[in-house]
Symmetry: C2
Subunit: 380 residues, 2 copies
């Protein structure tokens, strides 16, 4: 009878109506029936990406989509700027270095965001830069940069702006075209509320130009082949059929809710979680000026073992939140508020957090987090 609630920054909860679709018998992918699904998915993704650019479908996790961006845009020796302010920024660096790009690593203190001014000065000093890699929602730290301002800087150069929006898409605002994001990468298992298995990559004309010129070898992740196939409502290789069919329904749900309403809902949930955490003495980890609403990362009191806290919430009570990674191991917990969650799920998460912190000896008035969150949720 134990609850199974995912308050994690991916995978997120799969709502029952999508579970139902995932449990249906599958169909063959080289059929007009499936082509119809591909067309609907591409149209729906373009709306969520807020783009007129192509959006390609890959069968992989989000990191496969990130690899696709790197191997399609950069030839060995090309110069790239990769922003590293957490685990996912680090992944851009590793990818660029693995594929032999001349990589300028822009290290940002964990909890802080890179600024447009910093990117501008790096681009001024390196006018031969081919691509700038950033992260929309750096879930290891809870940070989001000002993508719009960075886009305005990058668009004045020859470089393309590549945004890892694996965790941010359909959760927080990203205007691919208006903000001049040339390549945006996402996945099925975050804001799109499905199991992992599909990645998505958008490409602007400026990006397509680089993609066509790049000499880097690529096959499974070759976006040129994706483009060709998609013109026939096809994919170069067998796609994750089950997830793709469910994605049609997920995109319909998002359309019905309205993207802006969803963003507002996540902000609403994030505020409540933060109010709740503050009421029991848990401080926000990232600089509040650049914190993402995708999740809340809070510091754990020094006398509490953060790893044990996460483990007990999950293994004893069935509520899964994320712990800290690397330098933050045991020091923060990260409670996501994205995907198919409502305010009662958030209150459930806070109630469990209160319960376990109480058991572990942290001093606060039981109910304080719930009360603060409830007041935030019902504020005018």
């Amino acid at each position: 009878m134990k609850r199974n609630l995912l308050l994690t920054p991916g995978p997120t909860q799969v709502p029952p109506q999508l579970c139902e679709v995932l449990g249906r018998p599958i169909i063959h992918h080289r059929t007009p029936q499936f082509q119809d699904n591909i067309k609907q998915v591409v149209e729906g993704l373009k709306e969520v990406f807020q783009t007129k650019n192509d959006v390609y479908i890959l069968t992989s996790s989000g990191s496969g989509g990130m690899e696709a961006a790197v191997v399609n845009l950069l030839s060995p020796g090309d110069k790239a700027i990769a922003v590293d302010g957490g685990k996912f920024g680090e992944r851009w660096v590793e990818l660029c270095q693995t594929y032999k790009a001349t990589t300028i690593v822009h290290k940002v203190q964990w909890g802080k965001a890179p600024t447009a001014a910093e990117i501008k000065s790096l681009l001024d000093a390196n006018p031969d830069t081919k691509a700038v890699f950033i992260t929309l929602a750096e879930t290891s730290t809870g940070v989001t940069p000002d993508v719009k301002a960075i886009g305005a800087v990058v668009k004045e150069t020859k470089a393309v702006l590549v945004v890892d929006a694996v965790s941010g898409l359909a959760v927080q605002e990203i205007k691919t075209d208006e903000w001049f994001c040339d390549v945006v990468v996402s996945g099925s298992h975050k804001g799109l509320m499905l199991p992992p298995g599909l990645a998505f990559v958008s490409a602007s004309p400026k990006a397509l130009d680089l993609i066509n010129k790049s000499s880097a070898p690529r096959y499974y992740f070759d976006l040129r082949e994706c483009k060709k196939a998609q013109e026939k409502a096809d994919t170069p290789f067998t796609p994750a059929i089950g997830v793709l069919i469910a994605l049609v329904e997920s995109l319909n749900m998002i359309k019905k809710d309205g993207l802006q309403n969803m963003f507002a809902r996540y902000i609403h949930l994030a505020k409540a979680v933060r109010a709740g955490c503050a009421a029991i003495g848990l401080d926000l980890y990232p600089d509040p000026a650049c914190s993402t609403n995708v999740l809340t990362a809070v510091r754990i009191p020094a006398n509490i073992d953060g790893e044990k806290l996460v483990k007990t919430m999950r293994d004893t009570y069935g509520i899964t939140v994320a712990g800290g990674q690397d330098q933050l191991k045991g020091k923060v917990i990260r409670m996501a508020h994205m995907g198919a969650l409502d305010e009662y799920d958030i209150l459930t998460g806070l109630a469990c957090l209160e319960k376990v912190l109480h058991q572990m000896g942290h001093k606060f008035e039981l109910g304080a987090a719930l009360t603060a969150a409830q007041k935030s949720l019902n504020a005018k």
Copy 2:
């Protein structure tokens, strides 16, 4: 009320008990609960691969697994022999060439199999060959080579033998260890009866040695990282959680049925389909001496449009078989007998084939294919 029967060489039918698992809410992948699933999957896969080697899990289609084999085994410039006797052999060639291997293409006439003697003479002439790439069940032509004999030849050299068993694993015999197959690649959506989304790659000590020495850049498909992660019952990147959890159940079903019983069942079904086709004048396309029991490829009479036949069976009657590819377009149909199929499904497929051929003007006695298949199915 239209039937949805997949008699295609991937994806295959997903049986109801696996659909049920796929429709369950998912769990987080960095948890002891999920680690337990990974352990069970790895153990179960080793039994199906008939190996003591590591078997790594990738989130991709089967072609991603093939790419993993190439980029992990071969450094640019390394010599490889790739057997090309159909669409999937061609994929090995394209992968080897894309990643700059010095590729010896061993062209085999469609419908024929490469022989161990041919491989031996190529290896004798090219003692610096690093890897030999073959296909267990070349589904474009219906051919299977003598993998055991080829393994015996390759093991005497420095080269590793790499087998694309995407379509063959758990359907026809492949003894990874006994036959000296250093790397075997497969996927979730064929003999394992699940939707596409996962690929599997086994690696012998001889292969691991090459993998560790290779200088080719790789990240998403880096098998060294897979090995490290798997030692902690983990994967380097977020896996296709839903499919992986269902795979535990699929592997249990296979274990309960018994691998040898399953192989016998597929042979039994293949014989019946071939008897049925022969009875209505459809000749087997591949050389019978090397035909795989994974599917039956038969020639369509010259006066019948094979593409229309496939389309009508699928769109009017809901029975999906595959048509011919490339040079065989419109000239053959391919009816798979793998995955969750029984003799009644086979009879259903033949009944629909009879119906549409009859409508299209092919002359034969209605019921002849069914009768021949029924006799084959019930022969002592």
